[in-house]
Amino acid sequence: MNTHGYGKYLWALVITLLIFFGILSISNYFDSKRIDEIRSVENGISFNILSSETQFALLSVTPCENLGNSSLTQELDSIGTRLEYLENTRGIDDPEVVQLKKEYSLLEIKDYVLMNTVSEKCHIKSPFILYFYSNIDNCNDCKNAGTVLTELRREYPLVRVYSFDYNIPVPAVKTLTDIFKVKKEFPALVIHEKPVYGLKSLSDIQKMMPELAKLASSTTATSTKNK
């Protein structure tokens, strides 16, 4: 190794480049593991939805209480959190992330449709919130809205919150925005099938959804009973 003169500059560059590309490979390896994990969870959810749909088709012979799939909501939430992390680290334009988000959006819509139908048939008043955000329209409040909804889900695990990127090229999402006449104003929430715009605090949402109080007391009562 000639390092007496200016050869050292080249050697240092070569070693630094090797370290850099080594780091890049390790980082990509972990990212691909993450994507595999999300895909695996999505496949699981897809199977569970199919299972619920089949159960629903057999509704005449299946009691309503057997149709509950509350674990699905938690799994959907966990994918949502993971996708948000990937968006932050890999960027919102990353093709893998965009593809996963499309699949996630479809799963959410399928779950939403199924749960709506189950609620109607079984006469259950399930609280649903549809949340539309945007990554490209300079929506400073979207992140804060996400924080509020995450806390809402923590306090009321039975509330089903479905979040959608308004601009994601998935026709079913576009259909959803058309059905509820959601304008391009963010953050947008659909509560009781009506769109509401702007950042809302936790107490704002609690006021808009008085049924949450009942949900909280029933959850507490149930959990106390279980003890």
């Binding site: 390092t3 370290i19 994990e37 993971r82 960027g91 924080t147 950042l199 936790l202």
Partner: protein, 419 residues
Amino acid sequence: MVSLLSTLVHTFLFISLYVQIFLIITLFEYHKKKKNQLSNISKESTDSSKITTYPSVRVIVPCFNEEATVIGTIESIKNMNYPADKLSIMAVDDGSTDNTWSYLEKYRNDPRVQIFHKENGGKHTAVNFGIEHSTSDLISCLDADSFVHPEALQRMLPFLRNPEIMDVTPAIKVRTPKNLLEYIQFAEYNIGIFLRKMYSTFNAIHVTPGPFTVFRREAFSKVGMFRSAHNTEDLEFALRLHSHNLKIENSHTSFVFTTPPQNLRALVKQRVRWTTGFLLNAKDYRKLFFNSKHGHVGTFTLPAGVLSIVSVLFFASYSVVNATNTLVQNIISWNLIGWHWHWTKWQWFFINTTTERFMIFAVLICGLFILFVGKRLSSGSWKPSRDMLSYVLLYGFIAPIWIAISSWKAVRGSTPRWR
């Protein structure tokens, strides 16, 4: 915008890593040379026990309001292991307004110490005064707040066997650290010992420090005396030597103990002077940049120094913006949802494995390695110590203060004050 920021972050991290790798290669190169005894810095040529003839040495001590330390400084020179008839001391009081002169007068009848008093004109005028009144073979300068190790001068002599070498710089250490700030500086000076030693292996030392650099007399006849240079004359002189293609060596076992600033205000003031002086002198000697005719000081030391300053400014701003955003975000969240604390379950998925994080990790590992090598060069030990911990935890928070002030001053072209 995000991708531009990300590109900048990666670029600065890459440059930082490159500089560290360059220095680590230099370290291995130095050890290889030392082992093979092929160069001027080989064991044989630096063995001071083989010295038979001693050149005459004049140590100039410029003083300005140094009543607290000047006696100790002069006594440390007198106690050096060097033939008494070859070593003389000249203390030049540069118009002190305290009792420095009355302390110096104690040496009025000491045949080895000459004392002079002149009107205040700045440190370089006091040193030049001393040089003009000296006839010795070697001339040294020792700041009046520093103390030399008894063997410091002996250990420098072997390097001067090479007639191309115009001066030899010492290894500066902090004298008995007491408070946290001094401990931080202790580790920082150890890194300085490493850097100076590495730079010396490819003739890229960019400063001839006030605490005990030994000059060949002919250095001054070749390039001239010290000049007023943004209150960092020792830096300008080194750059001038390089512009004349002259060599500067380093004796990393010639220890000099300096009294560091003891509070943040004094430390910032000192570092603002150093950093602004570096930037302004680098500007004055911009002809050296990437000019291989003048050696590595222009192709490595100066560009690396400027890039380090820009990197610190960038990362400090980046961190401040991020910390402010997080704080604002937490306040907004608190307003929206109230105070909620949730214990988050550990999941590997959320461990930050971005290239940025790994690059930071690589830069930190290399930085720690350099810190340990500095400790080893300075004390012969690899053992972690309190000063290293203080440095790792706190230096990153205080250095940006003087880097930012210095950059602003340099942009405005204003020369920082000594005190």
